[in-house]
Symmetry: D2
Subunit: 303 residues, 4 copies
């Protein structure tokens, strides 16, 4: 793996992923809007690019990790955007959580230039990225996927192939994030029921985390929700709302009623209305406590 | 563990549990309303009792595994019921899923006779019971719990102590079953979203079962829901509805709004309305498919 | 209308109804658990009875207005209950809001004694009862209904015949109360949306009350909800919760999922959890304000 | 009222409104994308315009009735759009149901040109428009509102002033349409409960329409929903979904959880999934019947 790779977007997730790719032996050319964030990678041997286009090698591979649909559109199709330089044979691997509708649009735009758009959103937080423990869902043209798979493996503990339509990988990612939110709401209700009937929240969390639900989501979020511990924000509330809203938009477009997704979306909206934007998205769990007039942590109520 | 133990209720769960206790070395005296169900245990050395009371040794231990609150009340407080004979020093271990309100009432009734009521509901299906792989939640008087713990360990892979109020164990059990139903609804929505957007249900189930939710509930029910496979009924729909309804009753009594519990209850009610009573309770997942006009298996629609 | 009529239950609704019947020319024999409540009617010519049975003329008409199923059962089937004396040809008109299941049971019990049970629940508050402006829904044996219709007309502005099965009238009554609660929740959400977007709640209430929804429920409750005015309790929160819960129980028994009924039930439960039991049931509207972190009246939050 | 007025958008609502304005004595210059729709008005004396801009008299009044946000943006800000010619002193009265966010944007765009944007969405269907029985909600600059009020009165039975911010009128309109949808869902559940318990749907509709809810929405939609009569589409399903979705978007932007709005949105989405796009939006009521496995009309299921 000695090909030179472009990398655009060095935020909390992008930075450790780029470093993993660099460590795996690729030459790396990196761009970030706030240029100072490229310093650590440059000090390790990466080249600094002056624009998204400048990070691209025509016909090469470029990876992006961009916050949302609007920014992604600008970085890709805007002036000095990735598409202005990628050209025939190039592959753009998009690792962030974007709407399937945008993926479909970008896939078409890339094909028209002879390039390929591969969606490869990942499950995991920054610490998992640093530890090369992400899970990647990849979808797109088969040859393109084969070419970029080593990059994904350099930063993941597993890579799942979702097919040839890029947007399919985004659907899986949005579905997965919805499942996490749903599990949090379920625990919030169950723990509140326990609490109101004489069983400590922590005990309830422990029992289910050791038996029926012995998996990281229930154990990690379960402990946080039991203790009403919503700082530091491993995944901040507004990002969670963004993803659930993307899932609901996709649901509405595809005529898929999802009552549970609506419920968690409202929990997240209510948490924002209460000024909890700088807390972890698990703070949606306070909704169940409020409804039941159960004890609430002072900090979470007025952060 | 050589004490003689009474056992009342040899249904699909009770029979393997009683056998485990017998195999662990206790003398067993068993009662079942349909007497023929006692035959296998009698052939292995158990004694046959002619009534719940007849299964009881005054001052001894009696275990019950009875379908619902009404039957439990009859078996315990009715004529020839357990309480008519248990007496001072006796301990009644109730292993079925009952309402916390009934547990509280029975605990009081036992105390008034100098006996103790221990709630020890279990997670797991008949095959887990046979394999001694249940999880038990136990609550009640400390000495009583100590005395019966070996019986629970004889049939479980783990025993969780929930405190001195018997009803607390029932709350944990109801909360746990609610969490299972909630996970099923979440998967039903996520898989339908996937399906309507070009991702096979089975692929979605596989990805989440191998990554975020690598635990038996998501893997087992996930595969069933992905394939719309609701036979044989490991846990039949009416039993599932009974448990979720008990959870909601407990929620209403304790002033705990649980919107997600309401949602799954309605899915179960709708499934009953469609004549699916002889299917597994995972059939609640068809609700999401119906709402979205997604493909439905013929068999499940008209069983 | 000169027949002597028994009347059992002189609460806030029963007292004005009984007075209307007395004013219409019937001889009246009245019973109430707290005997002093019979004084006003006795001073106007009614006779005082010492028990429900004592209010009954065998073969005659007896009217009951009793708070809930449990009390109704005691007054009817208990010792010195109505059924102990009513006998062949007698007609029992039940005007309170009871479960259809109880109506069905009581209808059978009356038939077995040669008597008839007529359900005649009414819409309207005490002031409407005093003004003879109730709406009655009546159901039961045709001859029995014909016989008691003048009594209902003496206290109502309209009488609707719902058929020969008494419980049908209770279903209509529960459905009607559910519709009121649903309208309150809808207004609570719409007014909060208005408020958060710069439109005064009162203006929103006024516009819809003068146009699309020019009817008393939207106008009366609309003004109260717009102003967050929940005292005095025209219909107290616990009574509202009782009725919605009866509707949901009837729904579950008849396999009828009612998501909106579940939603309003949870709003009522949440209001109880917040200690609002002595407020009008329209206080369910605070749920929408709380979710949105919209301004809340001090009084309603901590009554 | 002799001022010349421009009118853009002669659809099912626009045509009768324009005719009312013409009949009230204004000179009218009309534009419609499909030019033939202007014929009836031209035959009655209106002038035909060749573009939105061409319908405008600089500094004059122009009325628009345009289907949705995207089309409205094109007609107003696009080439040959209203704003290209309206100029200082001009007033644009927008009578369609648009998002508050768009109203806010257009109000600013008009102010920047010295013109004024007045929002005046109306309640009522085409037959009410023809009969001059609409209800208008108007908001915007006071002088501008005064100037256009006679036009609104020429087509309405009542005009409500919602203040100086145009988007406020759109909020009231969206809130009102949400309330209609909520009432339909409530009736659908109540009628299904009645039906499953032996009370004919029509009887339930009649009782509530004559008593608690003696207003057009409950009487008109109530009769339709009771009979499952969803043709002809007085207000087609996709338009209803558009409006409820606009309400939800506004709710999310303003941090206002609206669980009942989510519920009706899902009913509408489910109806679309079942291919009912050409039916009246009251067809959302079939959701409650489907959930309960209650009888469904063949025609509605497969229109």
């Amino acid at each position: 793996m000695t090909e030179r790779v472009g990398f655009v977007g060095l935020g909390r997730m992008g930075a450790p992923i780029a470093e993993n790719i660099l460590n795996a032996g690729s030459a790396l050319r990196v761009y970030n809007r706030t240029a100072s964030k490229t310093d650590p990678l440059v000090s390790k041997g990466a080249e600094r690019a002056s624009s998204p286009a400048d990070a691209v090698t025509p016909g090469g591979i470029v990876v992006s990790m961009i916050a949302d649909d609007a920014a992604m559109l600008a970085v890709t199709e805007g002036p000095d955007g990735i598409l202005s330089r990628l050209g025939p044979g190039g592959v753009h691997v998009a690792m962030s959580t974007l709407s399937p509708a945008l993926a479909e649009r970008l896939a078409k735009a890339h094909r028209e230039k002879g390039a390929r758009y591969v969606a490869a959103p990942v499950f995991g937080r920054p610490d998992a990225a640093a530890a090369r423990k992400l899970w990647a869902c990849v979808a797109g043209d088969k040859d393109a996927v084969s070419r970029v798979r080593p990059l994904l493996e350099a930063t993941s503990q597993g890579v799942f192939d979702i097919g040839v339509e890029p947007q399919a990988a985004n659907v899986v990612k949005l579905g997965g994030n919805f499942l996490i939110a749903a599990a949090m709401e379920a625990m919030a209700e169950a723990f509140t029921l326990a609490e109101k009937n004489g069983v400590p929240r922590e005990r309830m969390a422990e029992v289910i985390g050791k038996t029926l639900f012995a998996c990281p989501i229930y154990q990690g979020y379960g402990a946080a929700i039991a203790a009403h511990r919503y700082v530091p924000p491993g995944f901040a509330l507004p990002l969670g709302l963004k993803d659930v809203t993307l899932a609901l938009d996709t649901a509405t477009r595809s005529r898929t009623p999802m009552p549970l997704a609506h419920l968690v979306q409202q929990r997240l909206v209510s948490a924002l209305a209460h000024g909890r934007a700088d807390l972890d998205w698990a703070v949606l769990a306070l909704g169940a406590s409020e409804d039941a007039a159960a004890p609430m942590p002072d900090r979470a109520v007025k952060p």
